[in-house]
């Protein structure tokens, strides 16, 4: 049996043209098709990796894994297998999320558990394969954990420190299944929810189930998903649309990408169910063009669903028709905003529109539209399968379920984590994240991407839920979670995010277009060089800027047309709230404690450490270093542009910075 399409039902095959409503049930329940019993059993066992004759090698080949070298590893494995003349099946999965230990390679021998190996480079491959496939032993140098019961020192993956405190709902299948293979998805409880919805539930039943689960939009807004669906369901219109926002633009966020690369069928299933619930017959997935692998996986998922009749006319003989199309974003962060996203799909500049009218009234092409984030859709099948009560049992009173975060920055265990709402920030940073590397001290965590705020140690016990985070001046956002240590300058961070926001502002409304530029200029002046020639007018302007910063920030927050502008001042406002001394030392003392704001630093060559090799002199872009060979060199301060190239080049650590 090559695929589930070969099952017969009363001597007839299921196909898109002749849909059989029992098709999915029969796929996962071999006992229901007596004529194909044995063959189906064998196939299902194969799909679940219960019965296989050759070893299976799983490689985590999502974008993050590939960037770490998984492509080279795959080639090396193929070459080595040929050399050893061993037959093995290679399965490319998505990423399980532990970025810090990528690339990962899982090896499953027949009748044995799947063992996870980490930080595999192409150089490790020969020894890895010899040890595992020929010697049939564990490659203990690089073992991380296993699926199945803990054996000795090799922990079950969910008992390892990184995964212990997580609750994997959305990321359930990522890194485990082959994201291209629809049959494998089906035996992993895939499309069970769709089956239940189409055969046993009415659209309003689905809406109510989602309302009761308490699911809130995971894109950052936190608007109750069920309510959004209910509003659209109530509208009477010949056409309605459901749209998946996969434009993940926050720098440092890769949650949606991982879900789309690791478990695309889940997202598609969520959209079909959503379409059914609101009465839409067409859906769009708006995915940013910078995610070619995710787009490829989605295209494959959609075409496979079409092949199986799970998209198209009369799905599973229910009378419901639904189709999906992918629209590639063209590079505009603002298109993550609902009305801008709609404008982009319509072929226009991605500029937001005032609301009302709300998208559920008049959205895409003027029709009722529901837009939800990837992670929101990824929760749907789990809610339908396990029930709204189960979902509502996770998390806090107002924030139900789990949230996926992308941990990055100065943290030991960087990667993707999924935690129940209500867990504290401290637990995420230290228990799951492993704390700060190099024995440095924690300084702040940025939540919510460029629109979020930086939270210091003092509020680290805040639980992760929509309301609590807002109260301390941050926001949940889409899941970006950047950790900073004492080597990060908070003013520089504010400058970085403001620069990003300024570049991405669509330019339509005055407060965002002009206001964020002026805020950025004020911050830039704070980090600019102090030279003895600074005129009184410059000094006055620097102070004036700071005095007016708060006012400007508040007006921008009050009057901007869309969320981008409204949250643009957050990095500055939260910086002023929690790190005021740092701002003041920049403004008044003209000092950057973290040594980041280059123009406020002075570079000096320590004469007793300098060997006179002249390397720095050659590297200096402004010819600011002079000296004779074998004699200590000297930096001309007036020519020094504070780029730091000399520090990076010097092999003797002879250049001091203060």
């Amino acid at each position: 049996m090559k695929s589930f399409l070969e099952i017969q039902f009363k001597n007839q095959y299921h196909s898109p043209e002749t849909p059989k409503s029992d098709f999915l049930i029969k796929c996962s329940n071999p006992s229901l098709s007596p004529t194909q019993d044995n063959e189906l059993n064998k196939y299902v066992a194969e799909l679940k990796h219960e019965k296989h004759e050759v070893p299976i090698i799983f490689i985590g080949a999502d974008t993050s894994g590939l960037a770490s070298g998984a492509g080279k590893v795959k080639l090396a494995i193929e070459t080595e297998l040929q050399k050893l003349n061993i037959d093995a099946k290679i399965v490319l999965t998505g990423g399980m999320g532990f970025g810090a230990i990528e690339p990962t390679v899982d090896i499953k021998l027949p009748n044995q558990d799947r063992i996870i190996y980490c930080e595999i480079t192409y150089k490790d491959v020969p020894e890895l394969l010899k040890t595992t496939l020929i010697d049939k032993r564990i490659y203990s140098k690089k073992v991380f954990g296993k699926y199945g019961k803990t054996e000795g020192s090799i922990l079950n993956i969910y008992e390892t420190p990184f995964f212990k405190n997580q609750k994997r709902v959305v990321l359930k299948n990522c890194g485990i299944i082959d994201p291209n293979y629809i049959d494998e998805y089906i035996v992993s409880d895939g499309f069970k929810a769709l089956d239940k919805v189409l055969r046993n539930m009415k659209p309003l039943d689905v809406v109510n189930e989602i309302i009761e689960s308490g699911l809130r939009g995971r894109g950052g807004g936190g608007f109750p998903t069920g309510l959004k669906w209910k509003l659209a369901n109530a509208k009477i219109s010949e056409n309605k649309y459901i749209v998946c926002n996969a434009d993940e633009g926050d720098p440092g966020a890769f949650m949606d990408r991982s879900v789309l690369e690791g478990d695309p069928f889940n997202v598609v299933e969520g959209m079909i169910i959503g379409g059914y619930a609101i009465g839409a017959d067409f859906g769009y997935i708006y995915c940013r063009a910078e995610y070619p692998l995710a787009i490829q996986k989605l295209e494959n998922a959609i075409s496979e669903c079409k092949r199986y009749g799970l998209l198209g006319e009369n799905i599973l003989d229910s009378g419901f028709k639904f189709d999906l199309k992918i629209k590639k974003g063209a590079g505009a962060f603002v298109c993550g905003e609902e009305t801008a996203l709609i404008a982009s799909i319509e072929g226009k500049r991605g500029m937001p529109k005032p609301r009302p009218p709300y998208p559920s009234d008049s959205g895409l092409f003027g029709k009722p539209t529901v837009i939800n984030n990837v992670e929101t859709f990824a929760n749907i099948s789990n809610i339908i399968n396990n029930g709204s009560k189960w979902f509502a049992g996770i998390g806090t009173e107002k924030s139900k379920g789990t949230k996926v975060f992308a941990l990055s920055g100065k943290i030991k265990n960087s990667g993707l984590v999924e935690v129940p709402m209500g867990i504290s920030l401290r637990q995420i940073v230290f228990d799951i994240g492993g704390g700060i590397p190099d024995d440095k001290k924690f300084k702040a965590v940025q939540i919510g991407g460029p629109s979020g705020g930086c939270l210091p140690d003092a509020v680290l016990d805040t639980p992760v839920d929509y309301e609590s985070l807002k109260q301390v001046g941050a926001m949940m956002g889409s899941g970006g979670f950047v950790v900073m240590d004492e080597r990060t300058c908070m003013v520089d961070v504010a400058k970085f995010f403001l620069t990003f926001i300024q570049n991405e502002s669509c330019g339509k409304c005055v407060p965002c277009r002009e206001g964020t530029k002026r805020m950025l200029e004020i911050i830039e002046r704070i980090t600019k060089s102090y030279s003895k020639e600074e005129s009184k007018a410059d000094v006055l302007q620097r102070f004036k800027g700071v005095i007016h910063l708060q006012r400007l920030a508040e007006v921008i927050k009050d009057t901007s047309l869309c969320g981008l502008g409204q949250s643009a001042p957050n990095p500055v406002l939260s910086g002023l709230q929690y790190f005021r001394e740092e701002y003041e030392s920049h403004i008044y003392d003209r000092v950057c404690e973290s040594h980041v704001c280059k123009e406020l630093l002075t570079y000096k060559i320590e004469t007793d450490l300098c060997s006179g090799c002249g390397l720095c002199e050659r590297k200096c872009p402004n010819e600011a270093i002079v000296g004779e060979k074998k004699h200590p060199h000297f930096i001309i301060e007036s020519k020094c542009i504070k780029c730091g190239m000399c520090v990076d080049t010097c092999r003797f650590d002879a250049i001091s910075v203060n």
């Binding site: 500049r349 529109k353 502002s505 330019g507 409304c509 002009e514 206001g515 800027g545 009057t559």
Partner: protein
Amino acid sequence: MVEFSINNINVKAENGMTILDAAKSVGIDIPTLCHMKDLFPTGACRMCVVEVDGMRGLTPSCAFPVAEGMVVQTNSPRVRRARKTIVELLIENHPQDCLICVRNKNCELQDLSEKYAIREHRFAGEKKNHAIDISSPSIERDPAKCILCGRCVRTCNEIQKIGAIDFTNRGFRSNVTTPYNKGLNVSDCILCGQCILACPTAALREKSHSKEVINALTNKDKYCIVQIAPAVRASLGEEYNLPIGTNVTGQIVTGLRRLGFRKVFDTNFAADLTIMEESTELINRITSSGVLPMFTSCCPGWVKFVEQNNPEILNHISTCKSPHEMEGALLKTYYAKKMGLQPENIFVVSIMPCTVKKYESDRPELTEENMPDVDAVLTVRELVRIFNMAGIDFNGLPEDEFDNPLGVSTGAAAIFGTSGGVMEAALRTAYSKLTNQILPTLELNDLRGMSGVKEASIIINGKQINVAVVNGIGNVREIVKDVQEGKSKYHFIEVMACPGGCINGGGQPIHQKPEKIKKRMDVLYNIDTKSSIRMSHENPIVLKIYDEFFGEPNSLEAHRILHTSYIDRKSILRNNA
């Protein structure tokens, strides 16, 4: 109806009305910049924000509907601070050139700065830096002064449906310009100037020819003649704060004489002449199976539109020159001869409500032995500036009459300035010519008003003649498509690029009072009703000119002086892209 409160005043308003409109209805003025009446709000400028109880941020009143029990504050400290900051932010990215700017004292940014008492530069920083586009003879673009309100873009795209300019780039680098920032003269622009009327600052303005005119007036060797268009008399008074809809013909004539023009003639005269030529041309086409439908040609914006987009239907357009060009041509030939003047010493100035006429007067076909029919075109606004510089106290001027002979005109000529006027005038004459009778009612109401496309049918000698009037170039596409496909049911079509006709032309006084179109139209219709002669073919001077000079309409000589030809500009523009 919903009941709610604004500034503690109880208000009743229709369901679905915006807070902005509801406030206006009780005498509360909320400032706007990007707002355009009759178009969907974009919510771009944020000037109109108000404080609404229960809403998180401030609410744009132009885009938010009223609701039962809503509590609105339009002048709270939070609102004032927000509006002040928005104006300050606009000012910081704007050249501080007020003293030398053409919109000094008629600029919406100045008004706001004054209203919100802006007294300091809080947010000084980088200013945008764009070059001025002076490529076209009619319109200048100065993007450095643009406040990105979007009104010009919406006018050009949504009302005129031309789309010569649009927003480009993004964020702080946003700029309203042509594709690749090329000159306006090689873009899709038809120079109608509706964008100038929409622009709150001097980012869009007419190209000035005041210097040429003043130089000619000061030059003793030049014999300066001036003519004024029908629509000018209906609007010029607005620049002097006279009520909209005041007929100031007599004062304009006096003013022009005081400037030093030797003769002050009336374009309306040539309008009657145009009707003679055009109605004869139409009748010929109808009776001898010529190319139909025929389009009017007096709107140079419409002509440019066809040359650039649909040159294949150029043969449908009447070959008649536009009235002021006919008058200029007459002046340099017939009149020069009659008065014993050297044509090269005559300097003809047209005062127009229009910007395209400047480009039109530059056309090489509109010359007589290498001398342009019209030497310079001034907009109403330019003339007012010249009056002011010359110390002419307009309101105190006595009235005077046009010079003869080219100052005599009929009521039919006067209504040329309104949409449908040319058609009415033409039908009055065509009907009489063919039936030897007079139309039962001279006012053809089906052709009046602001509808986009107006149609009428009239039976002449048992044959049904179908006519249409296109009001604003944005409404022309369906008709052009039908003509291209040979499916048009019309015989004669009038097209005016500006909505409402010339009285709403790109050269008229700039302000946003909504009653301007109707009131200016009324002036012209009143002139018509009060005229003793109301049909062009009864203009005695016109008849005399045919006797003395042209023989009869469409004669060889008439064709030489009063008719023109057109160019396929589409291939020229495409090949040079």
